[in-house]
């Protein structure tokens, strides 16, 4: 079913919206959650909570043209929250790896609170992403938004793992330089 029709189902509060969403995007959403949590039952829990959250947020939102991204953002947020809840004591491999890599994008990492407003930071991140080539951006987003492993990114875009690693490293360096040049205090 087309995204527009699924959104209509949500808007009309028809339960079929949930089954259609699950049928079309369930596997991908579980994949996003699993990328962060590395636990199937937790990933499934996040997937189900995603539909519930979408049910409550459509309306007012009407993501007719970006339903997957809309659901994916909810899944990612839920997964991070669940990760934080479960792993306050013991940090977990995949997320540690991803967050350590992302730290390389920050000019001067510190525990001090971020100096920039969330909206401004998002604007800067999106502006930076807009400067990248489509390939660079997709690889970067697949790794740090979807939480794909390097191997999964390489398979997704049919490139070597070494090229993937190298592209990611370059993009992280570019992002750090971008923040520095724009004097964005993170």
């Amino acid at each position: 079913m087309e995204d527009g029709r699924i959104v209509e189902l949500y808007l009309n509060k028809e339960e079929q919206a949930l089954t259609e969403s699950a049928q079309k995007y369930g596997r991908k959403l579980r994949g996003i959650a699993y990328g962060i949590l590395r636990n199937f039952s937790d990933a499934e829990e996040c997937e189900n909570d995603t539909y519930l959250s979408a049910w409550n947020s459509i309306p007012p939102h009407e993501p007719r043209n970006y339903l997957f991204a809309f659901l994916g953002k909810i899944t990612r947020n839920l997964s991070i929250n669940l990760y934080n809840k479960h792993h306050t004591q013991k940090r977990y491999g995949q997320v540690v790896e991803l967050t350590q890599e992302m730290e390389a994008c920050i000019p001067s990492p510190s525990d001090a609170p971020c100096m920039i407003e969330d909206d401004d930071l998002m604007e800067a991140i999106n502006a930076f992403l807009s400067l990248l080539s489509k390939e660079e951006r997709s690889v970067f987003v697949a790794r740090y938004w979807y939480g794909d492993s390097v191997k999964e990114v390489a398979q997704r875009f049919v490139i070597s793992e070494s090229k993937t690693k190298s592209m990611l490293m370059r993009t992280r360096n570019k992002m750090r330089k971008y923040f520095q040049d724009k004097e964005i205090k993170l």
């Binding site: 991908k28 993501p63 970006y66 997957f68 991204a69 809309f70 994916g72 953002k73 990612r76 947020n77 991070i80 997320v95 991803l98 967050t99 350590q100 890599e101 992302m102 730290e103 390389a104 994008c105 920050i106 990492p109 510190s110 525990d111 001090a112 609170p113 971020c114 969330d118 930071l121 998002m122 991140i125 999106n126 992403l129 489509k134 390939e135 951006r137 997709s138 987003v141 697949a142 740090y144 938004w145 979807y146 997704r156 875009f157 049919v158 070494s162 090229k163 690693k165 190298s166 490293m169 370059r170 360096n173 570019k174 330089k177 993170l186």
Partner: protein, 260 residues
């Protein structure tokens, strides 16, 4: 801010960038299916080319120095005292048939890279290269098209090799699809897979720092007979070449010490 915070904030990037990953991967998957049908024809083409190259190697005792830099079919290990001024000078007879036999033998040997890796550059400490580089450089005897950016001085050093002009030597177009410093993991993997003795560079040349730059290049001839027939034709095609760079103790500059 820490990496973890940035990772969390990253959730709210524009939806279009999230969707783009899906469309890009679908597009690639579909184009992969389409190209499968052409693979047999492609294989036949490359088999014919390989036969042609083999014939040339037997006949030609010497080839122009760029041949070493760009011809993937030559399995020669060009360990040389090369400077940034140009590509390595070939050793006499290096492209003879025996090179192929050596390659086969070499693959049975084990590579060595532990010492080389011990002095491998930390490229993240290099300043980001921000000199203006022409993406399409047209020279008298060649064109160099750059499809990527140069991120540091090592990549720039290797790029310069492609732009150095030796009159009456060869006429060509090089399209550089990618040029990058390999990671230590990649070098370790390559040395083991291809049985490269990288440690020999360290001991022989007294290197203080080392690196390998990969160039993914398509080479096109623009003329048939070049240099009055002195130099052999360089087969057209796409190649991955590895430039071994090192900085000798007491010198400031990196130099190219070998091409694989």
């Amino acid at each position: 801010m820490r990496g973890k915070d940035l990772f969390e904030k990253f959730t709210n990037i524009k939806e279009e960038y999230i969707q783009e990953v899906e469309t890009e991967s679908e597009r690639i998957a579909n184009s992969g299916k389409q190209s499968k049908g052409n693979k047999i024809a492609e294989l036949r083409k490359w088999t014919a080319l390989a036969a042609c190259i083999l014939g040339l190697l037997v006949i030609v005792p010497f080839a122009g120095d760029l041949f070493i830099g760009l011809n993937e079919s030559s399995s020669m290990d060009s360990t040389t005292t090369t400077t940034t001024e140009g590509l390595p000078e070939p050793e006499d007879g290096a492209l003879e048939e025996s090179a192929l036999e050596e390659s086969a033998e070499e693959s049975l040997e084990e590579g060595s890279s532990s010492e080389f890796l011990g002095m491998y550059v930390d490229i993240s400490t290099f300043p980001i290269y921000d000199a203006d580089v022409e993406m399409e450089l047209m020279l008298e005897d060649r064109a160099v098209i750059l499809e990527t950016f140069l991120d540091n001085e090592l990549e720039s050093l290797v790029y310069d090799i492609f732009t150095n002009s030796e009159a009456d030597e060869y006429l060509c177009t090089s399209t550089i699809h990618d040029i990058r410093v390999l990671t230590e993991e990649e070098v370790e993997e390559l040395a083991s897979e291809k049985a490269w003795d990288l440690d020999a560079y360290v001991s022989d040349e007294n290197l203080e720092q080392a690196a390998i730059v990969l160039v993914d290049v398509t080479w096109e001839e623009t003329h048939g007979e070049i240099g009055g027939g002195t130099y052999e034709y360089i087969p057209e095609g796409r190649y991955e070449k590895y430039f071994i760079l090192g900085q000798v103790e007491g010198r400031d500059m990196f130099e190219v010490w070998g091409v694989r």
